[in-house]
């Protein structure tokens, strides 16, 4: 491997935000100058090669620092370089600096006030320089250099597209210290400059002298970014599109963003049936003791509480979906009939619904009922609170801080007087019906929003909606009709949409309809647990005073938790195959200890006299790591004739703690796969770049045909 790194600065975004994104990859130090001026990837006024790395403004210092994968004594570096104005004095504008592992300067390359380029030591003693000016302001210059620490040599070529002319600097016998190059800084303005200035770099290509290709001067090489732009039949990864129903969403990712409507009697549910439902996608979960309100009519300041559906934080209610109500608006009558633990994956759509039917509350997520029906015949307060969608909105305070849901909504519907779901169902894949002809309950629809082009109520009430604090309609540009590639083929990073490769354990839910009888059994993971009035041996579970306590005893028996000898039998060991988790109201969940589909074979049975049982005969939902996904990429620039190297970049992260690595590969036109090193992921997004210098099929040079007919592959290895 000779090529070490390339960067075209086209995929980070622009400005300070783009510079900050560079830190997610090979760059160890970047400049985000805040109030000082623009920095990061940008473009000079006279035109960019493409997106360029910039230090542009009128007054600041700084540099960008790149760390080599490993120290090298002999490197080649080429780039495009431009200045908006020559520096007002020497040793002010540095093109690059060669540093060792300790970040000690080995040599600096300066553009001087006359346009001369100078190689100098750390004390600005000139080591060598060009014969005359070679840099002109407001022009791109191609710079290619060889830095040989071991031989004490330095060669510089300027605007030599074919590396065929006499070098501008050809110096030998230099002393660069005893250590090899480990780091480079580029675009270093070491002294504050006043007046029109700015310096740009593009098409950075760093190589060493190893290998048989790219180990010498190459001439002008540009760096083009070819984004993923088409799917292939190899498609193991799952896309997480923004697009859900139609082409529009409600975007509530701005701080405190939410939607309100004036209070109305039509929003009161009294003691009757109702259905609150929406597709919801969380960008982040509520922190602190906050809540993320999905929908409600709830004003605490003036005691106008009616009903509210929200997700609480861990500190608030252990991260549970909660539905709370009040019968008179005051806190004294507040009840929370639904509190169900729920940890949604971020950036994934969920259909969420709360239904009251015949005096029972039901909670559904993705059409699956969570928990058991909760008796609720209360008459909710017919208060004067405004309606709040994605946040708690009050008459006086407006949107209440720390109550808003950071995320997106689609197809929000509130039906008053009718329970649309009374059993498990498949959420709609098409817009909810509009109009009485399509929806028999149309008269009951108190709110209906599709967000296709506006944030508006499409129900018969056509109530006025107010988008607060940046809540806005968003038109999506991805989706199945576009292609999976649309989640990753982005020039500007957006970690809210991606492709994913899960590894999920199987699970199952046990429901006890009533206290079990003595000698009833629950079997899971190869162990039969027997309910007993008095304990006499291993794997026996005490029938306690209440159903929930008995379930807790079973939970502790499975996990070998507290209560051995008193709540479950002595000699009981932790179940080797499953782990139990408590759920409210007569339910318990077990999760396979082994990840993947292997857990789907774990049997779960019961013998319960008084009713209840496992949801399914075996655990379900275990998912293995999927196969790879291949993507075609954009065509190379039309002027491309020679391709020296390819770097596959992926920006990746994992959803949670645990082992997880992703590997890139270059697939040749004939299908030969050249794999790169697997990269362990962190929960924070990071860039990983892997270099390829050969066509996988031919082991010869990469050609345009390699790219046009080849593809990039994403694989999860662990």
């Amino acid at each position: 491997m000779t090529a070490l790194f390339m960067d075209g600065f086209d995929h980070y975004g622009t400005g300070d935000a783009g510079a900050a994104t560079m830190l997610n990859g090979a760059w160890a130090q970047v400049q985000t100058h805040g109030g000082f001026g623009p920095a990061g990837p940008g473009a000079p006024a006279w035109g960019a090669r493409t997106g360029a790395l910039a230090l542009a403004g009128t007054s600041f210092q700084g540099s960008y620092r790149y760390v080599l994968p490993a120290p090298r004594s002999h490197i080649f570096l080429s780039c495009g370089f431009a200045v908006a104005g020559l520096p007002t004095a020497n040793f002010m504008n540095q093109i690059c600096s060669f540093r060792d592992l300790n970040n000690v300067v080995m040599a600096n390359l300066w553009v001087q006030s006359t346009g001369v380029i100078t190689l100098a030591d750390i004390n600005n003693n000139v080591l060598s320089q060009t014969q005359g000016p070679v840099v002109v302001s407001d022009n791109w210059h191609f710079i290619e250099m060889e830095f040989d620490q071991g031989a004490g040599a330095f060669v510089l070529r300027i605007d030599d597209a074919q590396a065929a002319n006499t070098p501008a600097i050809n110096a030998a016998g230099l002393h660069f210290g005893a250590n090899p190059v480990a780091q480079l800084t580029v675009l270093d303005l070491t002294v504050q400059q006043f007046g029109p200035t700015g310096t740009w770099m593009d098409d950075l290509f760093i190589r060493d002298s190893n290998g048989t290709v790219n180990n010498g001067f190459l001439g002008d090489r540009r760096i083009a970014t070819l984004l993923a732009d088409a799917d292939t039949a190899t498609a193991g990864w799952t896309p997480r599109f923004y697009q859900k129903i139609g082409g529009g969403l409600l975007n509530c990712t701005a701080p405190n963003a939410c939607v309100s409507a004036a209070t109305s009697a039509s929003l009161n549910v009294g003691s009757g049936d109702f259905t609150i439902e929406s597709f919801v996608r969380f960008q982040s979960l509520p922190g602190g003791a906050n809540k993320a309100v999905i929908f409600g009519k709830w004003d605490e300041t003036v005691n106008q509480r009616s009903y509210q559906f929200f997700l609480g934080s861990q500190a608030l209610n252990s991260g549970s979906l909660c539905f709370q109500t009040s019968t008179d608006g005051s806190p004294s009558t507040v009840a929370q009939p639904i509190v169900y633990p729920f940890a949604p994956e971020l950036d994934r759509w969920y259909h969420m619904a709360v239904v009251r039917t015949a005096g029972e509350l039901l909670l559904f997520v993705d059409g699956q009922q969570l928990g058991l029906p909760i008796a609720d015949g209360r008459t909710y307060f017919a208060g004067a609170a405004p309606m709040g969608l994605a946040g708690q909105v009050e008459t006086v305070a407006g949107a209440v801080a720390n109550t808003t849901l950071a995320g997106w909504f689609d197809e929000t519907r509130f039906t008053v007087g009718f329970a649309r779901y009374t059993a498990n169902f498949t959420p709609t894949a098409v817009p909810f019906p509009r109009g009485a002809a399509a929806d028999p309950q149309w008269a009951d629809v108190a709110l209906l929003c599709g967000y296709e082009s506006l944030v508006q109520d499409e129900s018969g009430f056509t109530r006025a909606l107010t988008a607060l604090h940046g809540a806005a309609q968003q038109t999506v540009n991805d989706g199945a009709a576009v292609g999976t590639w649309s989640t990753i083929g982005k020039a500007v990073p957006d970690d809210n949409t991606f492709v994913e490769a899960p590894l999920l354990p199987a699970s199952n839910i046990l429901t006890l309809a009533a206290q079990p009888a003595a000698n009833d059994t629950v079997t899971v993971g190869g162990t039969a647990y027997t309910f007993k009035a008095a304990l006499a041996g291993a794997n026996q579970v005490l029938i306690d005073a209440t159903l929930q306590q008995t379930l807790q005893n079973l939970f502790n028996a499975i996990n070998a938790g507290p209560g051995v000898g008193t709540k479950y039998g002595t000699g009981t060991t932790a179940n080797a195959n499953v782990t139990a988790e408590q759920l409210p109201a007569g339910q318990m969940e077990v999760t396979a200890n082994v990840a993947g589909t292997a857990g789907n074979a774990i049997a779960s049975t019961t013998s319960l006299t008084n009713g209840g049982g496992w949801a399914t005969a075996t655990l379900t939902g275990g998912v293995d790591i999927p196969g790879p996904s291949d993507f075609k990429v954009q065509r190379p620039p039309p002027l491309t004739t020679i391709i020296s190297a390819v770097q596959i970049n992926q920006r990746a992260f994992k959803s949670d703690a645990g082992l997880c690595s992703v590997q890139s590969a270059l697939v040749g036109p004939l299908g030969t796969v050249a794999t790169a090193t697997a990269h362990p992921l962190t929960v924070s997004p990071s860039y990983h770049g892997d270099i390829f210098e050969q066509d996988p099929d031919t082991a010869a040079s990469i050609t345009p045909a390699t790219l046009i007919n080849g593809r990039i592959r994403l694989s999860r290895t662990v």
Partner: protein
């Protein structure tokens, strides 16, 4: 082991019962001897363990203060999803061909026209149409000339090689791309020469071409013109064309006026029209007796 001659017993292990109540009950006694096969003169045992199964010493009570089963499990950590939000390919690419050189001329026939190709290296590739007796320049984007070297007519097919890689190409006039990724650039010029100092107005310039046959969903057709014999050209006037729309009108209106030496019209596109059937300029104050048309249609 066939060559072993001696083996000595160097270790005898007797595992004795550590407790005697109840007495040890031996259920199996194994004596294992290492021996040399065949006709060894001596057999020397280096280890002779005596393994005895016995009952453990009896205890009056058994007290367990802690019992643990350590289970290797993934638990919550198994619920991990890898997520990739950006994937791309960066390429370090160059343009041009180092040290292009002249090569042998060759000919091909297309649409009944025989073209004589002169590959002139850095000066580009030029072709002479023996029917129309006009020259044209052939080039591939990124190259000085045509990335189609050493061409030959193979029956009715035109075959050539890549300049850099061991790839053979067939010339396909209907393909809007070169090398499957470079939009073919089309540039055509036509002119109206005049010796008159009177201003000749150009009401419009109309192009008749295969406007609907495009490489991409849409592209631009550009018109520029020069009133100084091609030294300078006007800014480009652009008409967007759409793939599949075969009845599109390519008309540029109100193009000002010109006098001697005349006007050169230049039409260009990338990956656009495959054929131009003709061009017509609607002129005002134009007198055929004082002027001559050169190329195109006046």
């Amino acid at each position: 082991m066939a060559s072993a001659l001696f083996s000595f017993a160097s270790q005898f292990a007797v595992l004795d019962a550590q407790a005697t109540r109840p007495p040890p009950r031996v259920t199996q006694l194994a004596v294992m001897a290492a021996c040399a096969p065949g006709d060894a003169a001596e057999s020397r045992v280096s280890q002779l363990p005596v393994l005895a199964a016995y009952a453990p010493p009896s205890s009056q009570q058994s007290r367990v203060s802690q019992e643990q089963l350590l289970v290797a499990r993934s638990g919550g950590e198994a619920n991990v999803t890898a997520e990739v939000s950006q994937a791309m390919m960066l390429i370090a690419y160059g343009t041009g061909v180092p040290n292009p050189s002249r090569s042998d001329s060759w000919t091909f026939v297309m649409d009944g026209h025989r073209f004589w190709v002169l590959p002139l290296g850095p000066e580009g590739d030029w072709a002479y149409d023996t029917i129309t007796k006009q020259w044209c320049q052939l080039f591939t984007q990124g190259f000085d000339g045509l990335n189609f070297a050493h061409g030959v007519m193979w029956k009715q097919r035109i075959v050539g090689s890549d300049l850099l890689y061991p790839v053979l190409y067939e010339m396909a006039a209907s393909n809007p791309d070169d090398d499957d990724f470079r939009p073919v650039m089309h540039v055509v010029t036509g002119g109206i020469a005049t010796r008159s100092q009177n201003k000749i107005g150009v009401s419009n310039f109309r192009l008749t071409a295969t406007a609907g046959v495009l490489r991409d969903a849409s592209t631009d057709v550009n018109l520029t013109f020069s009133d100084d014999n091609g030294n300078t050209f006007s800014p480009a006037f652009t008409i967007p064309v759409t793939q599949g729309a075969f009845d599109q009108q390519l008309v540029w209106n109100a193009l000002g006026s010109f006098s001697a030496p005349g006007r050169i019209f230049k039409i260009s596109d990338a990956g656009g029209m495959l054929s131009i059937y003709g061009a017509d300029a609607a002129l005002n104050n134009y007198d055929d007796d004082d002027n001559e048309a050169a190329g195109g249609h006046a």
